[in-house]
Assembly symmetry: C2
Homo-oligomer: 237 residues x 2
Amino acid sequence: MHYFYSIDISGEFMMLSKEESEHCVRVMRHREGDVVRVTDGRGRLAEAVVAMADPKKCLLEIRQEITGSIPAHNGLQLAVAPTKNADRMEWLLEKSIEIGVCSITFLQCRHSERTRLNMERLQRLSVAALKQSQTTWLPELKMMEFAEFIRQNENILADKFIAWCDENNQRQLTDMPRHHHEMILLVGPEGDFSDEEVAMARHSGYVEVKLGDRRLRTETAGLYGCFAAAISKPLPS
Amino acid sequence: MHYFYSIDISGEFMMLSKEESEHCVRVMRHREGDVVRVTDGRGRLAEAVVAMADPKKCLLEIRQEITGSIPAHNGLQLAVAPTKNADRMEWLLEKSIEIGVCSITFLQCRHSERTRLNMERLQRLSVAALKQSQTTWLPELKMMEFAEFIRQNENILADKFIAWCDENNQRQLTDMPRHHHEMILLVGPEGDFSDEEVAMARHSGYVEVKLGDRRLRTETAGLYGCFAAAISKPLPS
Protein backbone atom coordinates (compact mmCIF):
# COMPACT_ATOMS: atom_id res chain seq x y z
CA MET A 1 0.00 0.00 0.00
CA HIS A 2 1.32 3.49 -0.86
CA TYR A 3 2.68 5.68 1.93
CA PHE A 4 2.38 9.44 2.12
CA TYR A 5 3.72 12.01 4.52
CA SER A 6 1.99 14.80 6.37
CA ILE A 7 3.16 16.85 9.35
CA ASP A 8 -0.27 16.50 10.95
CA ILE A 9 -2.45 13.40 10.68
CA SER A 10 -4.79 14.18 13.57
CA GLY A 11 -8.49 14.76 12.97
CA GLU A 12 -10.99 12.99 10.76
CA PHE A 13 -9.97 14.70 7.51
CA MET A 14 -6.60 15.98 6.37
CA MET A 15 -5.17 17.74 3.35
CA LEU A 16 -1.93 16.52 1.80
CA SER A 17 0.72 19.14 0.96
CA LYS A 18 1.13 20.32 -2.63
CA GLU A 19 4.05 17.93 -3.21
CA GLU A 20 2.31 14.98 -1.58
CA SER A 21 -0.97 15.68 -3.38
CA GLU A 22 0.93 15.73 -6.68
CA HIS A 23 2.62 12.43 -5.79
CA CYS A 24 -0.62 10.81 -4.67
CA VAL A 25 -2.89 11.92 -7.52
CA ARG A 26 -0.61 12.58 -10.54
CA VAL A 27 2.21 10.10 -9.97
CA MET A 28 0.42 7.28 -8.15
CA ARG A 29 -2.87 8.07 -9.91
CA HIS A 30 -4.98 7.54 -6.80
CA ARG A 31 -8.70 8.25 -7.14
CA GLU A 32 -11.57 8.85 -4.69
CA GLY A 33 -12.10 5.78 -2.55
CA ASP A 34 -8.53 4.47 -2.81
CA VAL A 35 -7.05 3.34 0.49
CA VAL A 36 -3.57 4.69 1.33
CA ARG A 37 -1.36 5.07 4.36
CA VAL A 38 -0.09 8.32 5.80
CA THR A 39 2.58 8.95 8.43
CA ASP A 40 3.50 12.11 10.34
CA GLY A 41 7.18 11.10 10.48
CA ARG A 42 6.90 11.17 14.26
CA GLY A 43 5.93 7.56 14.75
CA ARG A 44 2.27 7.77 13.84
CA LEU A 45 0.80 5.87 10.91
CA ALA A 46 -2.81 5.88 9.73
CA GLU A 47 -4.91 4.21 7.09
CA ALA A 48 -6.85 6.73 5.06
CA VAL A 49 -9.21 6.94 2.10
CA VAL A 50 -8.80 9.44 -0.72
CA ALA A 51 -11.83 11.72 -0.29
CA MET A 52 -10.92 14.29 -2.95
CA ALA A 53 -8.31 13.39 -5.58
CA ASP A 54 -7.16 16.96 -6.26
CA PRO A 55 -3.56 16.98 -7.60
CA LYS A 56 -2.87 20.21 -5.67
CA LYS A 57 -4.99 19.65 -2.55
CA CYS A 58 -5.65 15.97 -2.02
CA LEU A 59 -8.11 15.40 0.82
CA LEU A 60 -7.79 12.22 2.89
CA GLU A 61 -10.27 10.78 5.35
CA ILE A 62 -8.51 9.05 8.22
CA ARG A 63 -9.94 5.58 8.75
CA GLN A 64 -7.88 4.32 11.66
CA GLU A 65 -4.49 4.67 13.31
CA ILE A 66 -2.14 1.74 12.81
CA THR A 67 -0.02 1.03 15.87
CA GLY A 68 3.14 -0.82 14.92
CA SER A 69 5.12 -3.16 17.15
CA ILE A 70 8.49 -1.80 16.02
CA PRO A 71 9.88 1.32 17.71
CA ALA A 72 9.76 4.28 15.32
CA HIS A 73 13.54 4.81 15.57
CA ASN A 74 16.57 3.09 17.12
CA GLY A 75 17.58 6.00 19.36
CA LEU A 76 20.71 6.87 17.40
CA GLN A 77 21.65 10.53 17.15
CA LEU A 78 24.15 10.32 14.32
CA ALA A 79 26.56 13.23 13.93
CA VAL A 80 28.70 12.90 10.83
CA ALA A 81 31.08 15.12 8.90
CA PRO A 82 29.81 15.43 5.29
CA THR A 83 31.91 13.78 2.61
CA LYS A 84 33.27 15.71 -0.37
CA ASN A 85 31.00 13.62 -2.59
CA ALA A 86 27.41 14.64 -1.77
CA ASP A 87 25.94 11.42 -3.25
CA ARG A 88 27.52 9.44 -0.44
CA MET A 89 25.80 11.56 2.18
CA GLU A 90 22.52 11.15 0.34
CA TRP A 91 22.76 7.37 0.36
CA LEU A 92 23.74 7.40 4.03
CA LEU A 93 20.62 9.48 4.62
CA GLU A 94 18.42 7.07 2.68
CA LYS A 95 19.86 3.95 4.30
CA SER A 96 19.92 5.33 7.85
CA ILE A 97 16.23 6.28 7.54
CA GLU A 98 15.48 2.76 6.33
CA ILE A 99 17.33 1.29 9.34
CA GLY A 100 15.71 3.78 11.70
CA VAL A 101 18.06 6.58 12.75
CA CYS A 102 16.62 9.13 15.21
CA SER A 103 18.41 12.26 13.99
CA ILE A 104 21.29 13.23 11.73
CA THR A 105 23.56 16.21 12.30
CA PHE A 106 26.10 17.13 9.66
CA LEU A 107 29.18 18.24 11.56
CA GLN A 108 31.45 21.06 10.48
CA CYS A 109 34.82 19.77 11.63
CA ARG A 110 38.35 21.09 11.49
CA HIS A 111 39.22 18.70 8.65
CA SER A 112 35.83 18.75 6.92
CA GLU A 113 36.09 18.52 3.14
CA ARG A 114 32.62 19.96 2.74
CA THR A 115 31.16 22.66 4.95
CA ARG A 116 27.92 23.34 3.06
CA LEU A 117 25.07 21.05 2.07
CA ASN A 118 21.79 21.56 0.23
CA MET A 119 19.62 20.95 3.30
CA GLU A 120 16.42 21.55 1.36
CA ARG A 121 17.31 18.77 -1.06
CA LEU A 122 18.27 16.48 1.83
CA GLN A 123 14.90 17.19 3.47
CA ARG A 124 13.11 16.20 0.25
CA LEU A 125 15.20 13.04 -0.02
CA SER A 126 14.38 12.19 3.61
CA VAL A 127 10.64 12.29 2.93
CA ALA A 128 11.14 10.14 -0.19
CA ALA A 129 13.18 7.62 1.82
CA LEU A 130 10.61 7.65 4.62
CA LYS A 131 7.84 6.75 2.20
CA GLN A 132 9.90 4.26 0.20
CA SER A 133 11.07 2.31 3.25
CA GLN A 134 7.57 2.63 4.74
CA THR A 135 8.91 3.71 8.12
CA THR A 136 7.30 6.29 10.39
CA TRP A 137 10.23 8.34 11.63
CA LEU A 138 11.57 11.35 9.73
CA PRO A 139 14.89 12.18 11.38
CA GLU A 140 15.62 15.78 12.22
CA LEU A 141 18.41 17.08 9.95
CA LYS A 142 20.83 19.71 11.16
CA MET A 143 24.15 21.26 10.13
CA MET A 144 26.34 22.37 13.00
CA GLU A 145 29.84 23.28 14.15
CA PHE A 146 31.49 20.40 16.04
CA ALA A 147 31.92 22.44 19.25
CA GLU A 148 28.32 23.65 19.09
CA PHE A 149 27.03 20.09 18.79
CA ILE A 150 29.05 18.99 21.83
CA ARG A 151 27.76 21.99 23.79
CA GLN A 152 24.11 21.44 22.86
CA ASN A 153 24.23 17.77 23.89
CA GLU A 154 26.24 18.38 27.08
CA ASN A 155 23.32 17.56 29.40
CA ILE A 156 21.46 15.02 27.28
CA LEU A 157 21.16 11.55 28.81
CA ALA A 158 22.64 9.25 26.21
CA ASP A 159 25.45 6.78 25.60
CA LYS A 160 28.00 9.01 23.87
CA PHE A 161 30.66 7.68 21.52
CA ILE A 162 33.22 9.13 19.14
CA ALA A 163 34.52 6.91 16.31
CA TRP A 164 38.22 7.60 16.19
CA CYS A 165 40.97 5.73 14.38
CA ASP A 166 43.61 5.44 17.07
CA GLU A 167 46.08 2.55 17.27
CA ASN A 168 45.82 2.52 21.07
CA ASN A 169 42.04 2.41 21.13
CA GLN A 170 40.74 -1.16 20.99
CA ARG A 171 37.19 -0.60 22.29
CA GLN A 172 34.60 -1.75 19.78
CA LEU A 173 31.31 0.17 19.63
CA THR A 174 29.42 -3.13 19.45
CA ASP A 175 31.07 -4.33 22.69
CA MET A 176 30.17 -1.24 24.70
CA PRO A 177 27.47 -1.61 27.37
CA ARG A 178 24.37 0.52 26.79
CA HIS A 179 22.82 2.49 29.63
CA HIS A 180 20.41 4.80 27.85
CA HIS A 181 17.88 4.43 25.07
CA GLU A 182 19.55 7.28 23.21
CA MET A 183 22.99 6.87 21.66
CA ILE A 184 25.09 9.66 20.18
CA LEU A 185 27.80 8.67 17.70
CA LEU A 186 30.28 11.12 16.23
CA VAL A 187 31.78 10.13 12.87
CA GLY A 188 34.61 12.28 11.53
CA PRO A 189 35.66 13.44 8.07
CA GLU A 190 37.99 11.46 5.77
CA GLY A 191 40.86 13.35 7.43
CA ASP A 192 39.50 12.24 10.83
CA PHE A 193 38.82 14.46 13.85
CA SER A 194 41.47 16.87 15.03
CA ASP A 195 43.17 16.17 18.38
CA GLU A 196 41.35 19.21 19.82
CA GLU A 197 37.98 17.81 18.71
CA VAL A 198 38.72 14.41 20.26
CA ALA A 199 39.87 16.06 23.50
CA MET A 200 36.72 18.19 23.57
CA ALA A 201 34.49 15.13 23.08
CA ARG A 202 36.38 13.10 25.66
CA HIS A 203 36.05 15.94 28.15
CA SER A 204 32.30 15.97 27.49
CA GLY A 205 31.97 12.25 28.30
CA TYR A 206 32.25 10.70 24.83
CA VAL A 207 33.95 7.30 24.78
CA GLU A 208 36.38 6.62 21.93
CA VAL A 209 35.36 3.52 19.98
CA LYS A 210 36.32 1.56 16.89
CA LEU A 211 33.80 0.58 14.23
CA GLY A 212 35.12 -2.88 13.43
CA ASP A 213 38.73 -3.50 12.45
CA ARG A 214 38.82 -1.72 9.14
CA ARG A 215 39.15 1.92 8.31
CA LEU A 216 35.73 2.62 6.83
CA ARG A 217 34.70 5.47 4.58
CA THR A 218 32.75 8.15 6.41
CA GLU A 219 29.36 7.11 5.04
CA THR A 220 30.02 3.42 5.71
CA ALA A 221 31.05 4.27 9.27
CA GLY A 222 27.79 6.17 9.71
CA LEU A 223 25.81 3.19 8.50
CA TYR A 224 27.81 0.88 10.77
CA GLY A 225 26.62 3.08 13.64
CA CYS A 226 23.00 2.72 12.52
CA PHE A 227 23.26 -1.08 12.48
CA ALA A 228 25.13 -1.13 15.82
CA ALA A 229 22.42 1.00 17.46
CA ALA A 230 19.73 -1.28 16.07
CA ILE A 231 21.57 -4.39 17.28
CA SER A 232 22.78 -3.32 20.75
CA LYS A 233 20.08 -3.32 23.40
CA PRO A 234 20.14 -0.75 26.21
CA LEU A 235 20.41 -2.18 29.74
CA PRO A 236 17.06 -2.01 31.56
CA SER A 237 17.09 1.32 33.38
CA MET B 1 49.54 5.38 -1.14
CA HIS B 2 47.89 4.09 -4.34
CA TYR B 3 46.72 0.48 -4.51
CA PHE B 4 46.79 -1.70 -7.59
CA TYR B 5 45.58 -5.20 -8.28
CA SER B 6 47.35 -8.17 -9.84
CA ILE B 7 46.39 -11.85 -9.78
CA ASP B 8 50.00 -12.78 -9.07
CA ILE B 9 52.36 -10.72 -6.92
CA SER B 10 54.98 -13.41 -6.29
CA GLY B 11 58.52 -12.97 -7.58
CA GLU B 12 60.84 -9.98 -7.62
CA PHE B 13 59.30 -8.29 -10.65
CA MET B 14 55.74 -8.27 -11.89
CA MET B 15 53.83 -6.81 -14.80
CA LEU B 16 50.51 -5.04 -14.20
CA SER B 17 47.61 -5.94 -16.52
CA LYS B 18 46.68 -3.61 -19.38
CA GLU B 19 43.88 -2.00 -17.32
CA GLU B 20 46.01 -1.65 -14.21
CA SER B 21 48.99 -0.31 -16.18
CA GLU B 22 46.69 2.28 -17.74
CA HIS B 23 45.35 3.23 -14.31
CA CYS B 24 48.81 3.39 -12.76
CA VAL B 25 50.64 5.31 -15.49
CA ARG B 26 47.98 7.30 -17.38
CA VAL B 27 45.41 8.01 -14.64
CA MET B 28 47.60 8.16 -11.54
CA ARG B 29 50.57 9.42 -13.57
CA HIS B 30 53.10 7.25 -11.73
CA ARG B 31 56.69 7.39 -12.95
CA GLU B 32 59.79 5.20 -12.50
CA GLY B 33 60.79 5.13 -8.85
CA ASP B 34 57.31 5.83 -7.45
CA VAL B 35 56.32 3.60 -4.54
CA VAL B 36 52.90 1.94 -4.80
CA ARG B 37 51.05 -0.94 -3.21
CA VAL B 38 49.75 -4.01 -4.99
CA THR B 39 47.41 -6.74 -3.78
CA ASP B 40 46.51 -10.10 -5.27
CA GLY B 41 42.96 -9.91 -3.90
CA ARG B 42 43.70 -13.10 -1.98
CA GLY B 43 44.96 -11.47 1.19
CA ARG B 44 48.47 -10.57 0.08
CA LEU B 45 49.69 -6.99 -0.10
CA ALA B 46 53.10 -5.78 -1.17
CA GLU B 47 54.99 -2.53 -1.46
CA ALA B 48 56.46 -2.08 -4.91
CA VAL B 49 58.43 0.42 -6.96
CA VAL B 50 57.52 1.39 -10.52
CA ALA B 51 60.40 -0.05 -12.55
CA MET B 52 58.99 0.74 -16.01
CA ALA B 53 56.14 3.23 -16.36
CA ASP B 54 54.66 1.79 -19.56
CA PRO B 55 50.94 2.66 -19.84
CA LYS B 56 50.27 -0.77 -21.41
CA LYS B 57 52.78 -2.92 -19.54
CA CYS B 58 53.79 -1.29 -16.27
CA LEU B 59 56.59 -3.20 -14.57
CA LEU B 60 56.75 -3.22 -10.78
CA GLU B 61 59.62 -4.31 -8.56
CA ILE B 62 58.33 -5.88 -5.34
CA ARG B 63 60.06 -4.34 -2.34
CA GLN B 64 58.46 -6.20 0.55
CA GLU B 65 55.30 -7.99 1.54
CA ILE B 66 53.11 -6.13 4.01
CA THR B 67 51.45 -8.44 6.51
CA GLY B 68 48.33 -6.84 7.94
CA SER B 69 46.81 -7.59 11.33
CA ILE B 70 43.24 -7.63 10.02
CA PRO B 71 41.84 -10.82 8.50
CA ALA B 72 41.48 -10.43 4.73
CA HIS B 73 37.74 -11.19 4.88
CA ASN B 74 35.03 -11.73 7.50
CA GLY B 75 34.11 -15.26 6.41
CA LEU B 76 30.71 -14.32 5.01
CA GLN B 77 29.50 -16.16 1.93
CA LEU B 78 26.69 -13.83 0.91
CA ALA B 79 24.06 -15.25 -1.43
CA VAL B 80 21.58 -12.62 -2.54
CA ALA B 81 18.83 -12.36 -5.13
CA PRO B 82 19.62 -9.43 -7.48
CA THR B 83 17.34 -6.41 -7.25
CA LYS B 84 15.48 -5.06 -10.27
CA ASN B 85 17.60 -1.93 -10.00
CA ALA B 86 21.20 -2.91 -10.88
CA ASP B 87 22.67 0.18 -9.15
CA ARG B 88 21.59 -1.20 -5.79
CA MET B 89 23.48 -4.44 -6.40
CA GLU B 90 26.56 -2.50 -7.45
CA TRP B 91 26.29 -0.44 -4.28
CA LEU B 92 26.01 -3.61 -2.19
CA LEU B 93 29.04 -5.01 -3.99
CA GLU B 94 31.14 -1.91 -3.29
CA LYS B 95 30.13 -1.70 0.36
CA SER B 96 30.42 -5.41 1.12
CA ILE B 97 33.96 -5.44 -0.31
CA GLU B 98 34.80 -2.45 1.91
CA ILE B 99 33.44 -4.30 4.97
CA GLY B 100 35.17 -7.52 3.95
CA VAL B 101 32.78 -10.09 2.45
CA CYS B 102 34.35 -13.43 1.45
CA SER B 103 32.20 -14.23 -1.60
CA ILE B 104 29.00 -13.05 -3.25
CA THR B 105 26.62 -15.30 -5.16
CA PHE B 106 23.71 -13.76 -7.02
CA LEU B 107 20.81 -16.16 -6.56
CA GLN B 108 18.24 -16.93 -9.21
CA CYS B 109 15.13 -17.42 -7.10
CA ARG B 110 11.52 -18.24 -7.85
CA HIS B 111 10.49 -14.63 -7.23
CA SER B 112 13.64 -12.97 -8.63
CA GLU B 113 12.92 -9.71 -10.42
CA ARG B 114 16.22 -9.93 -12.28
CA THR B 115 17.73 -13.16 -13.55
CA ARG B 116 20.66 -11.73 -15.51
CA LEU B 117 23.52 -9.47 -14.48
CA ASN B 118 26.50 -8.00 -16.30
CA MET B 119 29.08 -10.07 -14.41
CA GLU B 120 31.98 -8.56 -16.37
CA ARG B 121 30.97 -5.09 -15.22
CA LEU B 122 30.55 -6.33 -11.64
CA GLN B 123 34.04 -7.86 -11.78
CA ARG B 124 35.48 -4.51 -12.90
CA LEU B 125 33.60 -2.71 -10.12
CA SER B 126 34.91 -5.24 -7.59
CA VAL B 127 38.52 -4.47 -8.50
CA ALA B 128 37.80 -0.73 -8.30
CA ALA B 129 36.18 -1.18 -4.86
CA LEU B 130 39.07 -3.37 -3.70
CA LYS B 131 41.58 -0.67 -4.59
CA GLN B 132 39.46 2.21 -3.33
CA SER B 133 38.82 0.65 0.07
CA GLN B 134 42.45 -0.54 0.17
CA THR B 135 41.46 -4.03 1.25
CA THR B 136 43.18 -7.22 0.10
CA TRP B 137 40.27 -9.57 -0.61
CA LEU B 138 38.52 -9.72 -3.96
CA PRO B 139 35.36 -11.78 -3.36
CA GLU B 140 34.48 -14.48 -5.85
CA LEU B 141 31.36 -13.46 -7.78
CA LYS B 142 28.93 -16.06 -9.04
CA MET B 143 25.42 -16.27 -10.46
CA MET B 144 23.52 -19.44 -9.60
CA GLU B 145 20.13 -21.10 -9.30
CA PHE B 146 18.92 -21.23 -5.69
CA ALA B 147 18.75 -25.05 -5.63
CA GLU B 148 22.22 -25.35 -7.18
CA PHE B 149 23.71 -23.06 -4.51
CA ILE B 150 22.15 -25.15 -1.73
CA ARG B 151 23.45 -28.33 -3.37
CA GLN B 152 27.01 -27.02 -3.84
CA ASN B 153 27.27 -25.89 -0.22
CA GLU B 154 25.62 -29.01 1.24
CA ASN B 155 28.85 -30.32 2.80
CA ILE B 156 30.62 -27.04 3.56
CA LEU B 157 31.34 -26.44 7.24
CA ALA B 158 29.72 -23.10 7.98
CA ASP B 159 27.02 -21.43 10.07
CA LYS B 160 24.14 -21.35 7.59
CA PHE B 161 21.31 -18.85 7.77
CA ILE B 162 18.39 -17.81 5.63
CA ALA B 163 16.90 -14.34 6.12
CA TRP B 164 13.19 -14.85 5.96
CA CYS B 165 10.37 -12.48 6.87
CA ASP B 166 8.12 -14.76 8.89
CA GLU B 167 5.91 -13.50 11.73
CA ASN B 168 6.61 -16.64 13.74
CA ASN B 169 10.36 -16.41 13.38
CA GLN B 170 11.88 -14.26 16.14
CA ARG B 171 15.49 -15.44 15.92
CA GLN B 172 17.84 -12.54 15.23
CA LEU B 173 20.96 -13.24 13.15
CA THR B 174 23.02 -11.16 15.59
CA ASP B 175 21.86 -13.33 18.53
CA MET B 176 22.80 -16.63 16.91
CA PRO B 177 25.82 -18.49 18.30
CA ARG B 178 28.67 -18.96 15.82
CA HIS B 179 30.40 -22.30 15.49
CA HIS B 180 32.43 -21.91 12.31
CA HIS B 181 34.60 -19.22 10.82
CA GLU B 182 32.54 -19.33 7.64
CA MET B 183 28.98 -18.02 7.57
CA ILE B 184 26.53 -18.43 4.71
CA LEU B 185 23.61 -16.00 4.56
CA LEU B 186 20.80 -16.26 2.02
CA VAL B 187 18.97 -13.01 1.25
CA GLY B 188 15.87 -13.24 -0.89
CA PRO B 189 14.32 -11.04 -3.57
CA GLU B 190 11.86 -8.21 -2.85
CA GLY B 191 9.11 -10.81 -3.19
CA ASP B 192 10.94 -12.96 -0.63
CA PHE B 193 11.83 -16.65 -0.96
CA SER B 194 9.18 -19.13 -2.03
CA ASP B 195 7.96 -21.64 0.55
CA GLU B 196 9.70 -24.38 -1.45
CA GLU B 197 13.02 -22.51 -1.29
CA VAL B 198 12.72 -21.97 2.47
CA ALA B 199 11.86 -25.65 2.96
CA MET B 200 14.84 -26.67 0.82
CA ALA B 201 17.20 -24.45 2.84
CA ARG B 202 15.77 -25.63 6.15
CA HIS B 203 16.22 -29.24 5.07
CA SER B 204 19.85 -28.45 4.23
CA GLY B 205 20.53 -27.07 7.72
CA TYR B 206 19.94 -23.37 7.21
CA VAL B 207 18.48 -21.58 10.23
CA GLU B 208 15.79 -18.99 9.59
CA VAL B 209 16.77 -15.61 11.04
CA LYS B 210 15.57 -12.01 11.14
CA LEU B 211 17.80 -9.10 10.23
CA GLY B 212 16.63 -6.65 12.86
CA ASP B 213 12.97 -5.73 13.31
CA ARG B 214 12.37 -3.93 10.05
CA ARG B 215 11.67 -5.24 6.61
CA LEU B 216 14.85 -4.16 4.82
CA ARG B 217 15.40 -3.75 1.11
CA THR B 218 17.37 -6.61 -0.41
CA GLU B 219 20.64 -4.66 -0.68
CA THR B 220 20.30 -3.26 2.84
CA ALA B 221 19.67 -6.78 4.15
CA GLY B 222 22.82 -7.96 2.39
CA LEU B 223 24.84 -5.19 4.01
CA TYR B 224 23.27 -5.99 7.39
CA GLY B 225 24.67 -9.50 6.95
CA CYS B 226 28.14 -8.12 6.19
CA PHE B 227 28.13 -6.04 9.37
CA ALA B 228 26.71 -8.94 11.42
CA ALA B 229 29.45 -11.30 10.18
CA ALA B 230 32.09 -8.70 11.02
CA ILE B 231 30.63 -8.16 14.50
CA SER B 232 29.77 -11.71 15.60
CA LYS B 233 32.76 -13.77 16.71
CA PRO B 234 32.88 -17.51 16.05
CA LEU B 235 33.14 -19.70 19.15
CA PRO B 236 36.66 -21.09 19.61
CA SER B 237 36.62 -24.42 17.80
